[in-house]
Amino acid sequence: MLLELRDIEKTFKDNQVLKGIDLTVEQGEVVAIIGPSGSGKTTLLRNINFLETANSGSMTFRDQNIDMARPSKEQILWTRRHMAMVFQNYNLFKNKTALENISEGLVFGQNMAKKEADSLAEIALDQVGLLDKKDFYPSQLSGGQQQRIGIARATVLNPDIILFDEPTSALDPELVGTVLRDMKQLAEQGQTMIVVTHQMSFARDVADRVMFFADGEILEQGDADEIFDHPKNDRTKQFLSAIAEDY
């Protein structure tokens, strides 16, 4: 087991957003999280890498036990250096070129020599088919290109786990495919990932396990067939049929 979360609770003011989340992720597993908007999916991912601090709960990541409510600075840095995140709106560094966006974490997060970092970054950029854009700034790239660079920025770090927060939600429909293809390829290479997504086809095809998330709780989980074809929970059924109407 690579990652285990135990009883994570998070409250903003008097709004309890996470109501005791338990979650385990095995090495090489792809976990898809689906669920209505506002249910706390983003908040869960942000708690895992300490962009938010939980009110209570604990985490075991590799061999480290971390109190989620009181992580030390060292634990936060260590966790972030073994994880990566892909954001809904890409969040590429605006003041860095495509290549620099990818090498930045290697040089300034992992203290790698610049030369080595650059050549790794070029390989990563090539893998997403954007090597010819290496000197472009984010504002010169389409959303799809930016997100693929966002993915390259994450994978180049060789993280134990990548957190994806609705990586295709901000994209024009015709650009979604390329990004999903990159992600599928990653999954096939054995990359462990947690993917919050509204792309049911991706969840069905790629995820080893699907979780249905609502009102700050995991209401149901199982493999894709169980969740999509034989959902047990009424909320899951409702959600899936509401989604199906969109297609």
Partner: protein, 236 residues
């Protein structure tokens, strides 16, 4: 009648003291910038006790005319030094150079204005830029110096340029405490020749030239730094 000859003869004389104006403006801006950085850190990190003091200091300076601030430093500083000496400190109390007094007054003034500009430039950097930087494993200070501050500086340049040009123009009152800069020289030549339009027109032209040059310099700086953040070209 407009005395063209007098105007032309006065021009180099007035121009010869332009360095006073420029040096005062540059030094005050540099000191003001350093003070402003401290003020911003104190206010943004909400450092106890200091934070409200900094806030009051800024609103005080921004809420009062610069000439009043100049007089307060001009008349107040010597008295403060006397008081300090009476308390047993070894301070000189006579002959504080007026230039030093002006530099102090304008540095205080600049610090308040610049600190507000820096804060607004800081707030216009998307917080998620910082978050993205820490998620790739940068320490918080690294995330600031590599990602946030460069973007902050790009945002800051236009405002900073305006503040600097304002400061140059604001120094036109330091003749009141006896510094001979552009305006003072124009005053002196006017009263000697009993001709006014000529010398003030000279002063006007010199101010325009100085401001134009600095405006251009800042523009170049901005273009250079925008290129590194590139908002200019969308999509290629």
């Amino acid at each position: 009648m407009f005395d063209t000859r007098f105007a032309i003869n006065s021009f180099p004389k007035i121009l010869s003291v332009a360095p006073e104006t420029i040096i005062l403006s540059i030094i005050a801006t540099i000191i003001g910038l350093i003070l402003a950085i401290f003020i911003v850190i104190v206010r943004e990190r909400k450092i106890r006790v200091l934070e409200p003091i900094a806030a009051v200091y800024v609103s005080f300076i921004r809420g009062t005319p610069i000439i009043v601030q100049l007089y307060v430093v001009y008349y107040g500083l010597p008295q403060l030094l006397v008081a300090l000496r009476n308390m047993g400190l070894n301070t000189t109390t006579n002959g504080l150079p007026v230039m030093l007094i002006a530099i102090l007054a304008y540095s205080f003034n600049a610090s308040a204005n610049i600190s507000e500009s820096i804060r607004s430039a800081y707030h216009s950097v998307n917080y998620q830029q910082y978050e993205a930087a820490v998620t790739v494993g940068m320490k918080p200070t690294r995330a600031m110096t590599r990602i946030v501050i460069p973007q902050l500086i790009t945002n800051l340049i236009p405002n900073f340029s305006n503040l600097f040009l304002d400061l140059i123009k604001d120094t036109a009152i330091v003749y009141n405490i006896g510094i001979v800069e552009i305006m003072a020289k124009a005053n002196i030549l006017s009263s000697l020749g009993f001709k006014y339009v000529e010398t003030y027109l000279d002063a006007l032209i010199i101010y325009i030239i100085i401001c134009w040059i600095f405006a251009k310099l800042f523009q170049l700086l901005e273009v250079f730094s925008r290129k590194r953040v590139s908002h200019t070209q969308e999509f290629i």
